[in-house]
């Protein structure tokens, strides 16, 4: 025999071991048996304490030889043991272990001491139990993180809302200050002292305006103004930026032929859209190439509208400015094209997937459209269509005005329906506009404005947005129904939800400059 072990050593390896002699009596047992099956005694017939599941007990020594698998069940309890029966000259060593399941960890009277140090089953069962515990903890972690995220989002949302309200109210006050300072300058500006004081007030109001811009940024409010912009002009004015976007190994060719026509867009959003489309083109040409940026005027439905997968706002207006950005890059597969505008989808390793998605949002908000066409290996062309801004509302001829309406421009003046619930701002605006030669009907509420619209025709509706009762966008919508040719200019310290705006409406951010307002009215 190469090795010989004491009972204690065998007990350390197999705490539930049993030894039976040739007469089938128990002649030795491990500490686990002593602890958990106290009725089992030395010298007791094995068959009195256990059923040997896979042997006929009487034939045990005749059937078994060498090392065989064995399974036992204690007769007066539900303890199961399994392992190996090692036959030898003096009897048989049952090197068995207690059967264990995960559930027994919490309920059983057994513990680690009842299992051998090298028992692989116990280690793996412990691992399962531990991993289950970790999973439970991870679920608790995930719930906590989700709650925390929600709390943060709620807090941010509340802060944003408060900041937005504050900015709105402050902008209204600044607007009143600016407009009335303009009045002061106009009326008494010749007096050097008063002129200087007016300048100081204007400067302070401008600083206050910067503070509200910061608040608006904090509240995630947009602060830009939507205005009619010449697409060609914006591109020409920003050629330096656009050139640097495409990089030195790519040639940017321009062909601007939109005839100086304007679209009502946000300047910065339009520029961002152009930059994103150029970046996309650049990424398709890592070895360099050419990008052709062109503009033209189009009439009728754009491709996407014709396909019926977008609203028909622009198609209804009839004419659009078509901007094309064509690259000579690697092109895109149909599968890639189908997903190109999906948020957070990108074919580039470091792409955010936000560029084209933001262009699509911009186009939709402006009442336009964007899409890509591509041939693999040949290049991709991005088409961005924006509606042409309506020109100043044509004068309504006598007899074509609404019932009971006075004729616009009857006295050679453009007629402005002005709606503003802030009396000081209203007063200042009326005075300024009248001084510029406009015929102004002043209303302090949306309801009053709708009554005026039913009685008279107007060239321009200039309205505040947030007002008690009928708000400015509702008044504008009704005004466009009653008088479709009316030019709408919204003014607010808030940028209204783009969904509430219609293409062609102008938006002026408060606090506004008189000159800017006059430019929008006459532009």
């Amino acid at each position: 025999m190469l090795l010989s072990f004491s009972e204690k050593q065998i007990g350390a390896l197999f705490p539930a071991f049993l030894h039976i002699d040739k007469q089938l009596n128990i002649s030795a047992m491990g500490p686990g048996i002593l602890r958990h099956l106290p009725h089992v005694r030395m010298g007791m017939p094995c068959a009195e304490a256990f059923d040997i599941v896979n042997y006929d007990t009487a034939q045990f020594f005749q059937e078994g030889a060498n090392v065989q698998p064995v399974s036992l069940i204690a007769r007066d309890s539900d303890v199961h043991l399994s392992g190996a029966a090692i036959f030898h000259d003096a009897g048989c060593l049952l090197a068995v272990r207690f059967a264990i399941t995960e559930d027994m960890f919490a309920d059983s009277s057994m513990d680690l001491s009842d299992f051998g140090h090298a028992d692989p089953v116990i280690l793996s069962t412990m691992l399962i139990v531990l991993q289950r515990a970790m999973l439970e903890e991870s679920q608790a972690n995930a719930i906590e993180l989700a709650h925390e995220r929600q709390r943060s989002a709620d807090l941010l949302e509340r802060t944003s809302r408060v900041a937005g309200y504050m900015a709105h109210d402050f902008n209204n006050l600044l607007s009143v200050i600016r407009l009335n300072t303009d009045r002061l300058s106009r009326q008494f500006g010749k007096d050097e002292k008063i002129g200087k004081l007016a300048e100081i007030i204007q400067e302070m109001a401008a600083r206050g305006s910067e503070i509200t811009q910061s608040l608006m940024t904090l509240s995630l409010q947009r602060t830009d103004t939507r205005q009619p912009l010449s697409v060609d002009q914006v591109i020409q004015d920003n050629m330096g930026v656009l050139d640097s976007v495409v990089g030195s190994n790519i040639t940017l060719k321009l062909n601007l032929d939109a005839d100086g026509r304007k679209s009502v867009v946000s300047y910065s959003d339009f520029l961002n859209a152009l930059i994103n489309l150029l970046l996309n083109a650049r990424e398709a040409m890592p070895m360099g190439g050419q990008i052709a940026l062109s503009t033209s005027l189009g009439v009728g439905q754009s491709k996407s509208h014709a396909d019926g997968d977008a609203d028909a706002d622009m198609a209804a207006s009839g004419s659009y400015i078509a901007i094309q950005i064509a690259d000579t890059g690697i092109g895109m597969s149909d599968a890639l094209l189908a997903r190109a505008f999906e948020p957070q989808f990108s074919s580039k390793p470091n792409g955010t997937g936000l560029g084209l998605a933001s262009v699509r949002n911009f186009a939709a908000e402006m009442g336009g459209d964007v899409w890509l066409e591509s041939v693999e290996g040949m290049g991709t062309t991005a088409y961005l269509h924006l509606p042409v801004a309506r020109t100043v509302a044509p004068l309504v001829a006598a007899g074509s005005s609404p019932p009971n309406a006075g004729t616009p421009n009857a006295l050679g003046k453009q007629r402005i329906l002005l709606v503003e619930d802030e009396p000081y701002a209203l007063e200042a605006l009326v005075e300024m506009l009248e001084a510029e030669g406009y015929a102004v009907t002043a209303c302090t509420s949306g309801e009053e404005a709708l009554r005026a619209l039913a009685q008279n025709a107007y060239d321009v509706l200039l309205t505040d947005v947030l007002m008690p009762g009928q708000n400015g966008t509702e008044v504008a919508r009704d005004a466009c129904i009653v008088q479709p040719s009316i030019k709408v200019i919204l003014m607010s310290g808030y940028v209204p939800d783009s969904a509430a705006l219609q293409p062609g409406w102008l938006f002026l951010h408060k606090p506004m400059e008189s000159a800017k307002l006059l430019q929008l009215i006459s532009g």
Partner: protein, 181 residues
Amino acid sequence: MYGMIHRAMRQMVQEELGEEAWLALEQKLDIGPTELLTGMVYDDALSLEIVAEAAARFNLSVDQTLEAFGQYWVRFAGQGSLSSIMKFTGQNLASFITNLDRLHLAVGSAMPGARLPTFSTLENAPGHLVVEYRSDRVGMEPFVKGLLQGLMDRFDACGEIAVVHRGEKTILFDIRYQDKG
């Protein structure tokens, strides 16, 4: 240390001083739920910062807090998701301590990167244990003493724990105890 340790410290502070105290601690250290992820290994420096900040709030020294936390940890583990495995590790003080390394073996497999200590029972007589603690971490003596005290509480025993030797990486604890019953 593992995030579970941080979670236990949070629970201890919340139980002893209230929810607000923990929120103030989180604010002071600029931490949040992302520093309390159970299976995440954090720098020991962060764990000790949390302990030090808790100590200031308990009005205790860092060592006193570590000892109290060691004691609390046993209760925390015994009540949470680890309760069944704690029960399975041992059903009396001597067997639990003797089997601690086997528990840690499984924990080490489930949490890769864990720097787990070892506990060797050098003497095991009725009412008397000599246990060698070995770790590459320093400064954990009060925590381990608290753990041993926590285990005595767990098994309804009372007694004395004395440090009889301090080596470079080892500490020898002499535990004399008796059942409270």
